[in-house]
């Protein structure tokens, strides 16, 4: 009985491995295309072994027009908005986590409700509104909207992480006369470093990949972040240079993948989404 159970488990493990590998291969094909094409002098649309390895695709795109300016714009946009999001979320999470109030529950429910609203749907009115208040085509306007759209989820995550910091540590500080701001900055936030890192990285990664918001709210080509400027490879440059498009995709995607690896390692595979979904 025990033996058959063991052998049954082993064959089941093999079957599971085989199944996973098939799915992994299917998922890997498009990724293989972008990696191989980026170093292929004659890249086209299919996955194939490159005709020799070349850096010419990267050389061609690493100019200020094509790559550096859009990436810098992305950095200013997403960096600024992330900073704003994290500061506002940390401030907002503190009273929600620490003080009992009749407002907490309705507020948190509203926040949770807002996390799942389809932001895409309000972009047309946001555009119309931004035209009227002269925020259209400005970095600061886009940063403010980005921050607001990411805030509900950031507050929710931050509050859950903050709940994990024991209150006793602060109470000692309170008796010593520390204000709540002091205890937030000196005690709570340092203790929840990994939590703050997750909120920061997650917000940044989401904004870095967002296309629709800057596509709608920015007009001047010089201000466009990489998520929008990448479309230039199709529209205005005539023949599509797939090798260059692939090289640009690699350069543009690498930062967020590295950032993700950074927090995924620190927190184990499960990531904070478990926390986000379970509340």
């Amino acid at each position: 009985m025990a033996l058959t159970l063991v052998s049954r488990r082993r064959s089941r493990r093999l079957a599971a491995d085989a199944g996973l590998l098939v799915v992994a291969a299917a998922f890997a094909l498009p990724l293989a295309w972008v990696l191989l094409s980026s170093v292929d002098p004659h890249a086209d649309l299919r996955v194939k072994a490159p005709d020799g390895v070349t850096w010419s695709n990267f050389d061609a795109i690493l100019t200020s027009d094509i790559t550096f300016t859009p990436l810098l714009n992305s950095l200013v946009l997403c960096g600024g908005a992330t900073l704003l999001t994290v500061v506002c979320a940390a401030l907002a999470a503190y009273p929600l986590s620490r003080f009992r109030s009749r407002l907490n529950r309705p507020f948190l429910l509203t926040i949770l409700f807002a996390t799942s609203l389809p932001i895409t749907a309000i972009m047309v009115p946001v555009y119309a509104l931004f035209v009227q208040v002269n925020l259209i085509d400005t970095m600061q306007g886009t940063i403010l909207f980005f921050a607001a759209s990411q805030l509900p989820f950031a507050i929710w995550l931050m509050k859950n992480f903050m709940d994990g910091v024991p209150k006793e540590l602060e109470e000692a500080a309170w008796t010593d006369g520390a204000s709540s701001m002091q205890s937030l900055v000196r005690i709570v936030l340092p203790l929840m470093g990994p939590g703050v890192a997750v909120v920061t990285v997650f917000s940044f990664v989401v904004m870095w990949g967002n296309f629709f918001v800057p596509f709608m709210l920015l007009l001047t080509p010089d201000q466009m972040p990489a998520s929008v400027s990448i479309n230039e490879f199709f529209g205005n440059r005539g023949m599509v240079a797939y090798g260059q498009l692939a090289a640009f995709s690699v350069v543009y995607s690498t930062p967020v993948i590295l950032l993700y690896v950074l927090i995924a390692r620190r927190l184990g595979g499960g990531f904070a989404l478990g926390g986000a979904v379970k509340g």
Binding site: L31, F99, T120, L273
Partner: protein
């Protein structure tokens, strides 16, 4: 939601022993200024949310009832339900609703949800290296920027792309999938991009099922499918519910992926509601009409969002 809240609050106090209500008189009564001071840190977030999220939503509800246009019009006027009446008579709108439904069912309900669950279940049994490799690849697809994912799958599905190369190898007819089956192509693209989320949710949920339970069933001779159906699925039903809601909400707002792959075309054969809304508002300059469509999308989204909240209610 407002109606449900007081009941929920009362029920919660009775239900959760871990958070008993504060004993009265234990703490000195707070004065009003002090309570306000405590809420002060909330203000930057509240101001941002009111100005840039609640504001646009309210504005959306307003201009959906006007004939606001993009160009050359000094004043817009209130037109009542005209935009909505127009929408329900508009073939293209109904087409977009249908395509959105197909897109959501295929990519979120059947695709991401089912494949995510299958992957999570397989991962529990697989060896560690295979698990890590698969997880890494699937999650990479999810972390990639939306537009990049769009390009990768554009290359995959186009004539002469990777899919056709594979079909050629198998001596099957090849075609430009973006032309023949555009809505399926973008749905598969969304599955490729979004499955990781379901996989992570279900991996966490399956990890919480005590081993003793499944082992007991196994010793009792319950086969894999029966264990899945009678034990595992009922135990993770809450995760299934929340995951379905979040997947659907995410899928409802996909724009960039479809825009990059097909621009909603050919014709309007992959034009889901967000793309239809964009086209009406900007290509046809009818902001009022586009916003009416947006408002409908927002209402559907809110509905799903409320269901999601109810599923989570016990845990807030």
């Amino acid at each position: 939601m407002t109606a449900a809240t007081p009941h929920a609050a009362g029920a919660e106090a009775a239900r959760s022993p871990s958070r008993p209500p504060a004993p009265s008189g234990h703490r000195p009564r707070r004065t009003l200024p002090r309570a306000l001071a405590r809420l002060l840190p909330l203000s930057p977030a509240v101001v941002l949310l009111l100005l840039f999220l609640a504001g646009p939503i309210a504005y959306c509800a307003y201009i959906a009832f006007t004939d606001l246009q993009l160009t050359g019009q000094a004043h817009s006027s209130f037109v009542g339900l005209a935009n909505f009446r127009k929408a329900f008579r508009d073939e293209e709108f109904l087409n977009a609703v249908w395509l959105t439904l197909v897109f959501t069912v295929v990519s979120s309900l059947l695709g991401q949800n089912t494949i995510g669950l299958a992957l999570a279940a397989l991962m529990q049994r697989a060896s560690k290296p295979v698990r890590t490799l698969t997880g890494g690849i699937v999650v990479t697809a999810w972390v990639l920027p939306e537009v990049v994912a769009g390009f990768l799958l554009y290359a995959f599905f186009r004539r002469e792309g990777t899919l056709d190369a594979i079909l050629n190898l198998l001596h099957l007819p090849s075609q430009n999938w973006l032309f023949t089956l555009p809505i399926l192509a973008v749905s598969f693209a969304n599955v490729w991009r979004g499955t990781a989320f379901s996989m992570l949710v279900y991996s966490a949920a399956l990890g919480e099922i005590p081993k003793e339970i499944t082992e007991a069933a196994e010793v009792d001779g319950a086969g894999g499918w029966r264990r899945m159906w009678h034990i595992t699925l009922p135990m993770i039903r809450r995760s299934i519910g929340t995951n379905l809601m979040l997947n659907t909400l995410q899928t409802l707002s996909v724009f960039g992926l479809i825009w990059v792959m097909t621009r909603g075309g050919p014709g309007n054969r992959s034009q889901t509601l967000p793309l239809f809304m964009y086209e009406q508002a900007f290509q046809n300059s009818m902001i009022g009409y586009g916003t009416a469509v947006a408002l409908l999308l927002l209402l559907v989204g809110s509905l799903f969002s409320l269901v999601y909240l109810r599923l989570l209610r016990t845990e807030v």
